[in-house]
């Protein structure tokens, strides 16, 4: 027996599905799902429907504009409502994003089904799905599967699937779904949104990522990381240590709690390679590390490692690139 219907949480930004939404749709396709449907919310679902259709969704359930509410409770409850009404998919795929995790968790507790999170691989196996996730900073890979009732809830990390270039024009029906009474669970209200401007490519899409860590010594040295990233057409990233220290915003963080990146080249500057960090960048095609501690774990996965002082190596590197 093959897999039946699979739902995908499709987050929408600026009228289009996010990269994560397209990755999950590609993932549902790779599982050989009998049919693929999306669940979305916000004012722009209808506008995004053609793109969802082109990526393989035949229908999108639209939970509507939630205004200034947070999506976890309303979207979770809307999905639970569909399931309660007898529309039961085999599996639902959520992205490991801020909102994806919240919605998956709300839904899980509402319908009493567990979750498998941090998936870095999903494969169809008979009439089930086998998920893999990394443990101990990526030293072990655990495969697991659901034994309980459907739908199975998977939360998938970014870059697990590659979004596909899609032909235009496949139709995707939009069906409005009601958000049930949320009681107190929907009481949180967004009163202000702040956008932190970043120039250059996005961290998780950049072909080159240059990241800085504690080895930089002080916050103003991070400027070297930014300069090098800019010269290479890449994005600057950071270890958790310097994000925690307040040197750079959280959105720069690469690692278990931050972004997963898989650039062509990853340059780690003054990063020792805590498991928390490595799990977010191990998938990079080429890894260059500069660190003064020759025993730093980052060297165990580096293709090129320079045991040296970032305060000497980086300025010299930047100069050399400038003089080309």
């Amino acid at each position: 027996m093959a897999l039946g219907k699979v739902w995908v949480l499709a987050e929408i930004a600026a009228g289009a599905p996010t990269g994560m939404a397209l990755e999950l749709l590609a993932g549902a396709k790779s599982l050989g799902a009998g049919s693929i449907e999306a669940v979305a919310w916000g004012p722009d679902v209808a506008a995004a429907a053609p793109a969802l259709g082109a990526a393989g969704a035949t229908k999108v359930y639209d939970a509507g504009d939630i205004g200034s509410g947070l999506p976890g409770a309303p979207v979770g409850a809307a999905i639970a409502g569909l399931i309660g009404g007898g529309n039961v998919p085999d599996a639902i795929l959520f992205g490991a994003s801020y909102d994806g995790r919240d919605i998956a968790a709300r839904l899980s507790a509402k319908i009493g089904h567990g979750v498998i999170t941090n998936c870095v691989g999903l494969e169809a196996a008979g009439d089930g799905i086998v998920a893999s996730h990394a443990l101990f900073g990526g030293a072990k890979v655990v495969t697991s599967t659901f034994t309980g009732a459907k739908p199975w809830i998977f939360v998938v990390r970014a870059k697990t699937f590659a979004a596909e270039e899609s032909p235009a024009g496949a139709p995707c029906e939009v069906e409005s779904i009601p958000v049930p009474d949320l009681g107190r669970t929907g009481a949180a209200t967004v009163v202000n949104r702040h956008v932190e401007e970043r120039s250059g490519p996005k961290l998780d899409e950049a072909p080159v990522v240059v990241s800085g860590g504690r080895g930089l010594g002080q916050a103003d040295k991070y400027a070297m990381v930014e300069e090098l990233a800019k010269m290479l057409g890449g994005a600057p990233g950071a270890s958790r240590a310097i994000v925690d220290a307040g040197w750079v915003p959280y959105s720069y963080q690469v690692g278990q709690t931050g972004k997963t990146v898989k650039p062509a080249v990853y340059i780690a500057c003054g990063i020792s390679g805590a498991t928390q960090h490595m799990v977010g960048m191990k998938g990079s095609k080429n890894i260059i590390a500069v660190n003064k501690d020759k025993d730093a774990p980052i060297f165990s996965i580096a293709d090129l490692g320079i045991v040296g002082d970032v305060h000497k190596v980086l300025p010299a590197l930047i100069d050399a690139l400038k003089n080309r």
């Binding site: 968790a105 507790a109 941090n118 495969t143 659901f146 949104r193 932190e196 500069v290």
Partner: protein, 262 residues
């Protein structure tokens, strides 16, 4: 608000600096040795203590689930200044998934009647990252996740919540649940006085039956999922590691040239 009662979910985990272990029979994380307070939870404890101090009083209650009546991590948080702890420990809880854990924590939290529930965004060891919001749903509470700043004002919690683009300012009436990221505050070190006082602070220990849960809602029985295999990840072999002799930068330039990045 005159008094502020805060419940903080804390996890006691094996030292993350030590190599992790799995039980070969069950594939569960081995948590039988000495456990410590998960670093991620120290931030929630610190925020809870500050909020109670700012409110001019109140209780900070720790809520934890751990095997073998383990309290060493709880003592650390009690030494920081928490008032008391509720510990749920029961053999039947072995193999619990995130939802089973949430059922246990939610029942335990009810016993503290908090104005605010705090938790880390995810634990350091298992990092499932869904347990707090599952707890909120089971308790019928609103939740604000990924908080990088938490304040309480006039019966509301004000949160700066991290987003893909930056952050949102969120207001939520109490009671509510908030998950905090690492680095939001600098957790205090326990003082000697605090460490001594922690030894006599109350830790209420409960089991599954005491919480009013049935054994099939928790543990491996309630998980509805099973581990198929645990394998070593594909090794990523180390490449060329060289000492910087002043020309290390040139190696990097040559490497980038070879990849046609420059």
């Amino acid at each position: 608000m005159l008094r502020m009662n805060v419940a903080v979910c804390v996890k006691q985990i094996p030292d993350p600096a030590a190599p992790g272990e799995l039980d070969p029979g069950t594939n569960n994380l081995v948590r039988t040795g000495k456990l410590i307070l998960d670093d991620s939870d120290a931030y929630g404890v610190e925020i809870a203590l500050r909020l109670a101090e700012q409110a001019g009083g109140g209780e900070v209650t720790l809520v934890s689930m751990a095997p073998n009546g383990e309290v060493s991590g709880l003592r650390t948080a009690l030494a920081m200044g928490a008032s008391r702890a509720i510990l749920v420990s029961d053999e039947k809880l072995a193999g619990s998934d995130a939802l089973g854990t949430a059922r246990v924590l939610a029942e335990a939290i009810k016993r503290a009647s908090p104005d605010l529930v705090l938790a880390a965004t995810e634990s350091t060891d298992g990092y499932t990252g869904t347990t707090p919001v599952q707890v909120a749903e089971l308790l019928g509470l609103p939740a604000v996740t990924f908080a990088k700043k938490v304040e309480v004002e006039g019966g509301n919690v004000k949160v700066e919540r991290q987003t893909e683009a930056g952050y949102d300012e969120v207001i939520c009436p109490l009671p509510a649940l908030v998950t905090v990221t690492a680095g939001v505050v600098e957790p205090r070190y326990p003082s000697f006085k605090g460490i001594m006082a922690a030894k006599s602070k109350p830790v209420d220990q409960l089991d599954v039956a005491g919480l009013g849960l049935s054994p099939d809602q928790v543990g491996a029985a309630g998980a509805g999922q099973r581990v198929i295999e645990v394998a070593d990840a594909e090794e990523r072999g180390a490449g060329e590691i060289v000492e910087d002799d002043g020309e290390g930068f040139a190696k990097i330039v040559a490497y980038l040239e070879q990849l046609k990045i420059v």
